[in-house]
Amino acid sequence: VTSADPPTIGGPYCLEQVDAGLLQANPGPLPESHRESLWKLFSAIGTSWKNLYRARDSSGMRCTWFEFVTLLAEEPPSYLAEYENAVKVLAELTQLYQEDGAYEKLFFEVGPVKSQPKTRLEHCKCYVVNEFIKVQIVSSGFRGFGGENRAMNYNGFLRGTRYNRIEGVREFKPPARHRKPR
């Protein structure tokens, strides 16, 4: 080990080597215990980045998130084994670093891991955390960035009934002298 090497994160389960591809599983329902553990992970994204707009927590996104994990568990290729792996990774990280420390490690220290995950920890980051971040953003999580100049819309944001009272995009109205009569 040299001083340039990043510190090791996690215990024996997190560091176990596995193939890079999606962990194989038959499609099926997500067990309730897994669902709650994964929901806490998803909610922690909103808390860690403070990317929610006028909301105390991510509960307004629960329907969208639930649709996402249900479809990914129940339709092929199924993420059931990845979700089970993530739950075990979280359990080990929580045991080692407490809950807040576990999320801090996962979100800010593991690295991007956008392809070719080599360990169970990297699988959790690549297939679960990274994808949950994208779900957070398209579920309105982008609106907490940028203060009062925040964006109204963003790739994939489904406004739905919850956001009916806000404008869909920021419109530009040209000066009156430029406007033409219809």
């Binding site: 403070k50 990317n51 956008k114 779900v135 960035f145 790739n155 489904l158 920021r170 419109e171």
Partner: protein, 535 residues
Amino acid sequence: MSEHEYILVGAGVAAATVARKLLEANPSTSILILEAGPEVTERNRRGWWNYIIDGIKPYDFARDKKNEYETIGKTFWDFNDNRVMAYGGSTLHWGGWSLRLQPEDFHMRDNTGEGANWPFDYWALHNYYHQAEYQLSVCGQLSESWNSHRRDQEYPVPVFQWAIPDSEMYHAFTDLSIEPGLMPIARYRKCMMTGTCKYCPLGGRFTAQHLLDEIRNDPRHKDLRISCRATVRKILAESKSRVSGVEYIDKDGQVHTAGASKIIVCSGAYESPKLLMLSTSSFWPSGIGNQNDLVGRFIVSHSMLFARGRREGNAECWLQEYDFPTIMSRTYDSPAYQREGKLFLFRNRAIPKFDFAEMMIQGRRKDEIERLLAGSREMELQGFLEEKGRFDDRLTLGDGRNQFGLPFTRVSFNRPPEVQAQAHNRLGLMQAVIERMNYTVDRQLTKVDNPGGHHTTGTCRMSRSATDGVVDPDLRVHDTDNLYVCSNAVFPTGSAVNPTLTLTALSLRLADHLLGRPYEAARQPAPLQTSRAKS
């Protein structure tokens, strides 16, 4: 052999439009639609989530692959992402931009001495354009000067207004006497979201699947059959003037024949000429309609022009708002610019871009992300440049067949130096807009690109005589009685705008012909005194 009244080859917007209108007139019309590609389900939520996660659209596999096409001319012909071979055709990936050609586009040869005239004028399509706008649910407005000739026909759906990132370009346009306009877009339902328009989970964007599903699910249409993964390999001729049916192969490799009284090739600007070339017989030794070696010739598309600029600071946090452009201009898409190539301008919809999720995945914290967001922004003006069809530019059959059994494509295209010079001249106009916005021009990304195959036209062009084109003004292959081509391939000129609305209008007009109805031609109104009319 006539088991069907009609066989339609291809299941894109042309086939869907013709079939629907024939069935509206007589629900028991016997129609067989044969589509080489698969059926890709729309509004599939898992498919949409996959697109959000990895950027891969559910129909991406039904595009041309790199080894399936070849460009042999001096100018590279860009096939990348230019069509979708599937139920619904290329409307699965189109942006919905729905613009009419201008009256002068129909008289290109007369006006410029190059290219070709259409065998009829704009007013022959005027009413069909109106019907097409209703069919596609086009959102638009009439107040722009380039709409001065069509004030009798309101758009069916209110226009999308300019978005805030349009504002700097709007002011630069007006300072430079370029008239800003609002893009007419085909949208079935109000946008509840944006940014993933290329695969809408709500079905908000028009695709031909809407029409095909509608006619397929109508219980009155007992004699309509739509077969996917059914690749037509040959049109069968029983004499020089009459075709009797088609030979096609299914996904299991089984060869079938089907007969019809009339055959309509709706296979786009690549497959339509290839199918005619493949349909050799003793009556047509070089392929149906190819006695004068014109099938596949005059291939033309738009060249894309890009002018990109960058400025420091983005305190307003401007981002992409819609996934389609809202500001555009047809100032250079007008008679004064026809000789040197018309230009249709629009803002790149996808920038300013800032990928919040990517920043978070990289482990950046909120304050760092906000600093990067406010640091700088880019803007890009894009243009479609009209080019004129030239005899030597042609599409031919490549060696091999793709995953759906369609022959590979070979294109020879040579842009003359004077056209290249005109393109760079046009690029200068666009660069001036970026500079007027006080952006620094990015020299690497400001360029004249290769012709993109996504708006290909001309390969079975329409003409009054067989010595000048492949189909007649009724879209019937010259010297045949019952074989038609309904595709962008029949356009004698491509103009500077997207072809789908014009193709839909032509399809509606063809259906009237097939039904024995008189064409709904319009009368040209007296000219208005507008800046466009004066030019």
